[in-house]
Each structure stands twice: as structure tokens, then as C-alpha cells.
Symmetry: C2
Subunit: 667 residues, 2 copies
């Protein structure tokens, strides 16, 4: 009978008894701490480092001395020498065995499931447990009468790594025998979902990457991650080439309807761009795109359908039927992604409903993780506003037809958020004089010398929100969004047709030498857009039977630029403590990244999408009522106690005496 020894793992403090001679790796695994090992204990990969700690550990009631762990053998000493490793501090846990009680410190980087933290708009933390994993095997050489190459690889996978029942993607057969022979019968295989070998590399390799892509209507944005460490090693965007077939989604749907082969053309265009994106992001990160094992794709339902070459025509009208809403796993080559590995996979997140696509699912994944009680409102504003409302377990979703006004379209001097666009506006309450900032410059226009100019090219979404809100606060606009009866007394307001316009930038200061103005028409467009957005949110609050949200997250590009205060003054979003309103950046991209790095999250989100309460705004009569009521600034029906000291007195009085604040009426 062998002796048993006490071990304690740090930093977790897990403890247990293991038999003498157990490797440190096996000891840690037996106590539930999974250690990374690509090579399966061959002392090749060096991923399984563990530090034995010595001394008395009163807290853990254990004394550990150097004799508790076996001395390094020649192979380990050789490895240490080649990799400059101090064996007195760290050991290859697959090689070192237990000879006595021991305290073992497991560094984060040796865990099979590491924590990955993304530094972007904010931190996103995800446990690295991807669908694709590397396994290094030393395969029995081929001799007379042995089994074929694949069967011997399979046997080694089972013996060394306990991975059984895997199949081989037949498309890899042409490269199998060379890969196996190139490094003397050693090979590293990439296994997808413990099910299929999707890549082979000769000898030992650590190369395994993944790509998470948000296929937006305008921009296709990707993150490249190391699937072993979870590290983000590249970020890259390309334009969505479909823009040439229509700026907004509905015009692309009709392009597909009006033109034979139109859908196929748009499909090929987006697939081509994805191939380009993969190649470029790989080049920038200095990796071989062939080592990209998996690509996660998210997008709205129209993008989802077109990228799968499904005619989006059904999404153009009721009943907005999806061809499929299920998550899709397919070969990248079947998708048309041929710039990456021959056996690589594509995973497309599930959709929720005809207007709520895989991009929303991704937002759900990044913003509604874990069980929580507080009520979050997540708004992703594009041509449609995608709205998610709920707790960690009870979630409502809707899509509101805001139109493209927030993106600068339908606005006389509107433009996309790009360098030169006015993004911030302040208006003097007394004089009505504007000051503004443009994207790409930190200075306010009023701080410049007389002969200097910011040369604005137009107004982007956040700029138009601010200028309208400021005009309202300055009394130039009335709560109905019309130029006030005395507006023309303001030197920056001049008549236009039957109404007026506000001159934000005079011709001599603008980039193209023409006045940049805000028209009654522009204001009307924004009122319609924000009315639709608020009505959608309000509808979900009705369904959830709440009067108040605890936090508001603004997702997407527009959400990043917009000032929460102005969004609230104009009534885009319901009342909320301003400090609880935040921009979350590309939440869809973050969600795609989470799905890329963690397979369990995919299962979770699949279940979650099936439980989401989808509310179809197009068929709810209450939507129209909310919409009409929400046109005013800020609309009569909504209480905004958090804005009491900002809004003009009479309006604020009305607003703060609105309906009584009830967290949830009926729950």
C-alpha cells in the first residue's frame, strides 16, 4: 500500500489527500483545479507550471518541506535549462510527483480555464474555455501491420488525453500523413467541441486563434483572440460592402427583392469582406490565418440571413419569419470563409425574433450575465433600436423602428460620426450663441482665436441630440419641438419657409463654406426617432410592469458618443440616476468574444434566447399610443425626477409630478 499525503492548493485553499507518486498535475486535477497541458504530460509544452511552497502553513495546518516533491529528473532539468526556468521556484507539474505533504501554488496562467480580461470601452471578464482545444500527441510509428495514421492518432489522443470518440474532418485527410511524418510521429491536433479534429499541425504547436465578428450594417468589426490564453491580439474593422446596395436594412431587403441574384451578390460581398478581415487581422497580429480555428459571427437578422445567403424578404414584412433562429455551427468553408483553416468552424449565435438578431443575443450575453435582481435597460441604437430590459433571468426584448436620423441621415446637415462632425453643442441661455466641439479636436469653438476655426463638416447623431436639447433648454424650442413664438428674436434663428432655422455654424467657419443649420424638419425627424425609441422602451416596461429602471446601458457607436444627460433631456431613455447611465461600447462584439472564449456561455445564451419575452412593436396597439405621447420634449407622460434641476421650471414641475414611482406594480 502506498502512503497518502496531504496537499493544499493555493490560492484556492483547496485541500485533500493523494497517494504518493501522484504528479502535481494529477493531484491538482483530483482536487478540481484543472491544469493546462497541451502535450499531455510529455514535458514539452511547459503550460503546467506549479510552484511548491515550503514552510509551516498554520492557516492550513500543514508543514511542507522540499522533500515533499520529487527531485527533477534529466528531462525536466533539460527543459528548465532550455527555457530558463528556476526549478527551485517552479516545476513542470506533469513531471514532479508527491513524496510527502505539500503546498502547491497554482499560478493563473497554468489553469486550463484562465480568466481573460478585455481592455476596451470597459473590462469584460470571461473564463477561457473555448470550443477548440489543442492536443499534442506522440504517435506510434507506422510499421508493417499497424493501423492507419488516423487510427493511431486517435488511439494516442485517447491514451494521453482521455479524448475519445472524435472524428476527423475528411477535408484534412490530404494533409494528415505529411503532418504526422514531418516531426517524427508527433503532431498537434485541434479538437472542436471534444468531437472533431478540425486542424493538424506537425510536431508541437501552441498556435490556436479565434475571431469574433460583429457584422454590422455599416461596419464589420472583429477581435482576434488567442484561444489558449484568451488574450486579444488584434482588432480590426472593414466597411460592410453591402452599403452600396442600400444604406439601411430595408433598402437591402428591397435590393434583394428587385434584383435577380441580388441576395447572392450581397452575400458574396459580405463573405468576401469577412475573408479580407480575417486575412488583415491575422497579418497585423503576425499569425497565419490558417491557425484561426473558429469564427463567431453575430449580426442583426437581415445581416444574419444575407450572410447565410438566405433571402431576407420574409423579414421585410409581417409576420417577419426567420428561416432559422437557432445557433448554427458550420464549416467555415461552407460559409465561404476560405482564408482561414480548411477545417475551421463558424458559429453563429442564435436570433431571438424577426427583428431581434444574433447581435442582440450577443448583447444579452455581455450585459445580462449571471443571476441579478436589478433591472437593466440596454439600448443599441441603429436604424432600428434594439431594446433589452430585465433582470438576469427575466428579460424582455423589442425592436423599435427609429429610422436612421440618429445616424445623421434625414438631417439636412447630418452626417456619420467621423472626424470633423459636430459631436457636442452648448447654447448660451441668454444670447442663444452656440459653441461646439468636433470629433478629432478637443477644443470648444468659443475658445478659439478669431481667425481659427474647427471647420465642421456637419452634425453627427450626438451633436444633433445636444443641439436640440440645448435649444429646448434655452427656450428657443417649446416642449412640442416647435420654434417658440419669440424664437426669431434670437440672432441665431432666422425664418425658413413657414417656420425657422437655427444657425449653428456660419458659412465662414464651416468646412464647405455653407451655413450649418438646424431646421424644423431636422427636429421633427429626431422627435420621430426618439419617440419610437421611448415607446419601445415604455412598451417593455409595461410588459414587465415596472415604472423605473435601475441602470441604462447605451450600446453601439451612437451610444458611445451620446451624452446620457442629453439623451434623457430629450427623452430618448426613461428617468434614471445619471450615474447609472453608461456607454458600453460594442456590446455585441463583446458578446461575440465571450461566445468565442467560453463554450458554456453558448449553451447558456441558447437557453436564455428561448426564454426572452419578445414583444413585437408592430402589432401592439399600446406602442402607437406611447409613440404619440413620446414626441414632446420631454414628453408629458414621463416623470423625470432626476432632471428636476435641469429642465425648465414649468416642464420640470409637470414631469416630476407624474405617476407615482413604483418599482414593480404587480410582482
Amino acid at each position: 500500500m502506498t502512503n497518502d499525503h496531504q496537499i493544499v492548493l493555493l490560492p484556492s485553499g483547496r485541500r485533500g489527500t493523494v497517494p504518493e507518486g501522484t504528479t502535481l498535475l494529477e493531484a491538482a486535477r483530483s482536487l478540481g483545479v484543472d491544469i493546462e497541458s497541451i502535450c499531455g504530460g510529455k514535458q514539452i509544452c511547459g503550460k503546467c507550471l506549479i510552484s511548491p511552497e515550503f514552510g509551516e502553513f498554520a492557516k492550513h495546518g500543514i508543514t511542507a518541506d522540499a522533500s515533499g516533491v520529487s527531485a527533477p529528473d534529466a528531462v525536466e532539468r533539460d527543459y528548465a535549462e532550455r527555457h530558463n526556468l528556476n526549478l527551485e521556484e517552479v516545476r513542470l507539474s506533469c513531471a514532479a510527483t508527491l513524496c510527502g505533504d505539500a503546498v502547491l501554488n497554482v499560478p493563473e496562467r497554468s489553469l486550463a480555464r484562465k480568466q481573460s480580461i478585455r481592455k476596451a470601452a470597459r473590462d469584460v471578464t470571461v473564463t477561457v474555455d473555448p470550443a477548440c482545444r489543442l492536443y499534442y500527441v506522440d504517435v506510434e510509428p507506422s510499421t508493417m501491420g499497424t493501423r492507419g495514421d488516423w487510427k493511431r492518432i486517435k488511439a494516442a489522443l485517447e491514451k494521453v488525453h482521455g479524448v475519445s470518440g472524435v472524428t476527423l474532418d475528411p477535408a484534412l485527410l490530404p494533409m494528415l500523413q505529411r503532418a504526422l511524418r514531418e516531426c517524427d510521429w508527433t503532431i498537434t491536433v485541434t479538437v472542436w467541441n471534444d468531437r472533431e479534429v478540425i486542424a493538424v499541425q506537425p510536431g508541437f504547436s501552441e498556435k490556436i486563434y479565434g475571431l469574433a465578428v460583429d457584422v454590422g450594417s455599416t461596419t464589420i468589426a472583429g477581435h482576434l483572440a488567442n484561444l489558449r490564453t484568451g488574450e486579444i491580439i488584434g482588432t480590426h474593422s472593414v466597411m460592410n460592402p453591402q452599403v452600396r446596395y442600400g444604406e439601411d436594412l430595408m433598402s437591402r431587403v428591397s435590393y434583394g427583392m428587385m434584383n435577380a441574384g441580388g441576395v447572392d451578390k450581397m452575400h458574396r460581398a459580405v463573405v468576401k469582406s469577412l475573408n479580407t478581415l480575417a486575412k488583415e487581422i491575422a497579418t497585423e497580429a503576425d499569425i497565419d490565418p490558417a491557425h484561426i480555428a473558429e469564427v463567431i459571427l453575430v449580426g442583426n437578422t437581415v445581416m444574419h440571413h444575407i450572410m447565410l445567403n438566405i433571402d431576407p424578404v420574409e423579414l421585410g414584412g409581417a409576420p417577419f419569419a426567420l428561416a432559422t433562429e437557432e445557433a448554427i455551427d458550420m464549416k467555415a468553408r461552407d460559409f465561404g470563409l476560405k482564408s482561414i483553416g480548411r477545417g475551421s468552424m463558424v458559429h453563429i449565435l442564435p436570433c431571438i425574433a424577426g427583428h431581434v438578431g444574433a447581435d442582440n443575443t450577443a448583447v444579452l450575453l455581455s450585459e445580462f450575465s449571471g443571476a441579478r435582481d436589478n433591472i437593466s435597460l440596454v439600448v443599441d441604437i441603429g436604424t432600428n433600436a434594439e431594446i433589452l430590459l430585465g433582470t438576469g433571468t427575466d428579460i424582455y426584448s423589442a425592436s423599435s423602428p427609429t429610422g436612421p436620423a440618429f445616424e445623421g441621415a434625414q438631417i439636412e446637415h447630418g452626417q456619420r460620426a467621423a472626424v470633423g462632425a459636430i459631436e457636442r453643442v452648448r447654447i448660451d441661455r441668454e444670447t442663444g450663441q452656440p459653441t461646439y466641439k468636433v470629433i478629432g479636436d478637443d477644443r470648444w469653438s468659443h475658445s478659439l482665436a478669431a481667425d481659427e476655426t474647427l471647420s465642421p463638416t456637419g452634425i453627427c447623431g450626438s451633436g444633433i441630440i445636444e443641439v436640440i436639447a440645448e435649444l429646448f433648454l434655452a427656450g428657443v424650442l417649446n416642449p412640442q419641438g416647435q420654434f417658440a413664438s419669440n424664437a426669431l428674436e434670437n440672432p441665431y434663428v432666422r425664418p425658413r419657409e413657414k417656420t425657422a432655422e437655427y444657425v449653428l455654424v456660419p458659412a465662414e467657419k464651416s468646412a464647405n463654406g455653407k451655413d450649418i443649420v438646424v431646421t424644423q424638419q431636422d427636429i421633427r425627424a429626431i422627435q420621430l426617432a426618439k419617440g419610437a425609441l421611448y415607446a419601445g422602451i415604455r412598451l417593455l416596461m409595461d410588459h414587465m410592469q415596472i415604472e423605473q429602471v435601475d441602470e441604462v446601458k447605451l450600446a453601439g457607436g451612437f451610444g458611445s458618443y451620446i451624452d446620457p444627460k442629453y439623451a434623457m433631456i430629450l427623452g430618448l431613455i426613461p428617468d434614471c440616476d445619471l450615474s447609472a447611465v453608461s456607454a458600453v461600447g460594442n456590446a455585441a462584439g463583446d458578446g461575440a468574444l465571450i461566445a468565442l472564449l467560453n463554450i458554456t456561455e453558448r449553451t447558456r445564451i441558447q437557453e436564455m434566447t428561448e426564454q426572452v419575452h419578445y414583444v413585437e412593436t408592430a402589432v401592439e396597439p399600446a406602442f402607437q399610443d406611447h409613440f404619440v405621447a413620446a414626441m414632446a420634449i420631454p414628453h408629458a407622460s414621463a416623470p423625470y425626477p432626476h432632471l428636476a434641476d435641469i429642465l425648465p421650471a414649468p416642464v420640470a414641475a409637470e414631469a416630476t409630478t407624474g405617476r407615482r414611482r413604483n418599482r414593480r406594480r404587480n410582482r
Copy 2:
């Protein structure tokens, strides 16, 4: 509580009790007789016809009258009228229900697993139970808030047919919504292996076909079958275009070695031919190739590797390692077969060893079915002779390097078996005068008028076997295969170099105006080939520890032309009752067809190949000994009691006093 009724099914005689109101279809299924139903009981497909029988059935102890089965309702009467069905004789078993005791006659054509009989070289009977099946479903229409198209199809599949957990080939997504809407929310799907939807057809369809192909070194031969009925609806061959890269296998292996991109070139050539074959066979049978749901491929190991674009170089030398020997299921599109359905499958039968390919597995499938005790020897002669020896459960296999002599190569006037080739030869024992027949003509040359000729173009494999055997029987050749010392006295023998040659056809009778002769060199080539073949067989008999086989089956083209008697006289095969020697035609093609039509047979053969005892002739010292001993005609070591009255007296005496006949020495 409902009443229970007695039912008896004919012709099986199965009986049992079922509750009142059960449909005849369910009643039959509950007694283990599976009835075909594509439409799942919607009274659309008419596949489930059953005849209720009336009267006293003393043998079964049951009396059945018309009241035992429900009267037809309007839908069934309407179906009967449209399809000219007499409802007094047959009923839609999905519609008719039981109201009393009943005797139900189930015609063969209504069985879910029919018997298919192929009429070719011989009958091959196989139960039709293919991997691909059709299911018709009536899907819930899309309305506001319903699930996507695919989820609703899946729900209908589960509800109507009990098929659950199937996935959809994502490549079908582009055609799904149109197919579903074209016939008012009805669709017929093809499900592969109860696992994946691989095709969709709008409305109700019975169209499902499969292709079984033997990819031979020279000829690619396919059978097209209806996967519902098992009927063979087409047979078609094309040349293997790889012939231009080398006649025999080893020259193709070296073409791949010597030429960059050579393997890929050969790969693309064979895939192109398979596409052509599929298109042509479909056109001839007047079906749409898109309805070919599955293709079974078999071939020797070199063909197997090249068709998968695997470099066959490893098969060119020891240890003859296969990249994989496992059965392969893959998408036809990944294989390169794009002329058939977009989601269709390719199944490649498993290989056995480096020289024993999927074609042999197919032969195993067609010739070693079921548990049997008698010992079969199956020989498939090509450039290599593939040998299978055993009972239904204990099987030995080897490949013998016969070279191409049997195919007419390496023979001075040899040629492939084609019209004009001499295939039969008789030599007058007294005069030495030959008479012969050519392929494509039924007449013997000696029966022609003096001014007539058969204009032979050369000698094919069977002809060269016969002429050498006849020369031996006529005493022109001695048992060592040399021209006898007195051979030159024969008027048809003339000197050639240090030895002689036999004039089979004088110049004035041949097609090209030159003598067709048999040289010492030719005889030597055949001796080497037949020595190798016999040595391989003998080696397997040693391994199996037997001295006698019960039957000999000659497979392949050469096996069909050769006369078993001459094969035995020359010593190609061991002694056996001549009536137990038969040609089985393209047994590999038959095996492919069996695998196409019956999924259970695939599992069986997979297990069987793993149990086959493969004997590598190249490393067995005994092979060389057997080979040397087998060069003589008939060789000294082999007893041929069945030829005692044919062989020349002294030889026969020696042969029949050989080793004692032991069935199995040690078992």
C-alpha cells in the same frame, strides 16, 4: 375502457391484440411489421396500403368480417378515386382503424424495409433500409410570433414521424423558406441517418435516389438505385481518366511522386469523372441528379487515397501505411461531387490494409454475408490479386502482386478484354491445331468457311490462360512451362531465339496481318502471375490451417471471362469441385450497392473489416517458398483430385497423391 381486438398479419402470421380504434398501420407496427409511410399518416403518399382479408381463418383461429375495419371516410374515398384504388380490396392503413378482429395482408411493397433483388451476373438480395429516408410534413404556417421555419419543420418531424434531434445542413438554408412556401407549408425532407436533413423538396415527393460506384483502376462503374423501392434504375460506366497517368497502380503512385501537383491532378480527374457519371446515369434514368441523396464509393487503396486527394506514396512501399482505413461519411460537396444534391452525402467503405481496399470490403460484404461454415475463396484478379478466404465469421485476406499479365499486359500479343480479343482456345491433342473464339462473336474459328476469318486483334487474359493450359494438355509444354523437347515437331511450333513460339493465328487470319503467337516469354509471365496468385491463396490456407476450400468465387472482369477449369488446370486456384467454382461478376459493385441500400450492413462490415486477419505477403517468408513451388503447371506441391481425369496421366498421378486432404488441421 376500450375493447381489444385480435389481429393476424399475413403473410408473416404474426398475431396480437390491439385496442379498438388503432389504425391498421399502427397495429402492424405494434406487431413488429414496419409499414412505409412518407407522409406520416396524412393520406397523401399511398405507400401504406394493406388488404383486410375476410372469412374464417382456421389456421389462425380467427374469424374476420368486414365490420372489423372502419369504413373509409371522405378523404380516403377521395384518394381512392384519384388513384384508382378499390377500397374493397386495399385500404390506406394510416386511415382505416380497427373495430373488430381482423386479418390483414401486408403486401411486400408496403413494407418499410423491402427486399431488393438485383438482376446482374446473379441475383443479389438485400433488405432496403437505406441511410437516407424521406419524410413528408405539413408545417404550421408562419404567423406573428411563431418560431422560425426550421424549428417548425423540426417540430412537425417529431410530432408526425417521431424523428427527433435532427439538425439541418446549413447549406440548405438558402432554399428552405421557398421550399416551405411553394406548396402551402408542406415539404418533404430527406433525413440522413436519423441525424441530419440533407435535402428539402416542396410539397410531397417520392424522389430519393442513391449511387453505388466501384472506382476501378480502369473503369468506374455505377449503379443508380431508387432508395425507396431498392430498384436499380440505371447502370453506367466511364473510363477512369487516371489511365493517362499510368496503366497500373504503381505507375500512378510514381506519377504522384515524380510530378508536383500530380496527386491533385489525378484527384481532380477522377472527381470530374464521378460528376460526369452521376449526371449521365441520372439523365439516362430520367431523374434529376439533385435527387441523388447518397453516393457509396469503393476502390482499391490507391484509388481510395487519390479520390480523397491523399498522396498514395505511402502505399508504394513498406510499411504500406494507410492515411485512414475507417469508413468515411462526408458531404459530397467536400468530396468535390457537385453535380448532385447540395446536401448529399458520400460514404466510402472502410479499407482493410495497405493493399486491401474498400473494393475488397465491398466484396466481403457481398460474398461473406451471414454466419456460414463452409469455406469460400474469393479472388479478384487485377494488377494485384485480392484474396479473401474464410467462413462467415473467420476471414483471412491478402493481396498478391500478380502484375498485369492476366490483363494482357507483358504478353507479346496480349490485350485488354475487348471486342476482337481471343478469349477461348482449344488445341487438338493429336495435330496441335488451334481453334479459338473472339469476344463479340459466338463462332469457333474452325467452324468458319475457308475465306472467313474472325480477325482477332490479340489475346486477352482468359485466352492466354486457355492457350497455355491447352498447350500443356497437348504435351507441347512440359510441367515446367517450357516448350517440350519434341515441341518443334508440331507444325504450329517454330523456333524463336533459343527456344520456340506457338502460332495461334497466322498472319492472313489476324486483324493486323501479323502472326499472333505465344512465346516462351509470355508463358513465363503467366507462370509468375499465377504463381504469385496461388502462393497468396496458399499462404492464407496455411494461416487458416486448411487444405481444401469448399467454393471458389472469381470476381471482377477477368473472373467473368476465365473458364474455371482452365484456371484450375493452370493452377491459379486450388483444387475444388468444378461445379463449386463460379464467376461472381463485379462483386465490389454489388457490395457497394448493398451498402447503399442497407445501413445495418455498413455497421456489420465495419466490424467485420476490423476482425479480418490480414496477411502481408511481402513479409511472410512462406510466401516466397509457395511462389517458387507454384510456378510449375500444375505445381508439384498441390493435389488436384478434381482434375484427375483431365490432367496428363503422369502429372495427375503425382498430383492426386499429394498431401492428405484435411479440412482444418487444428481447429
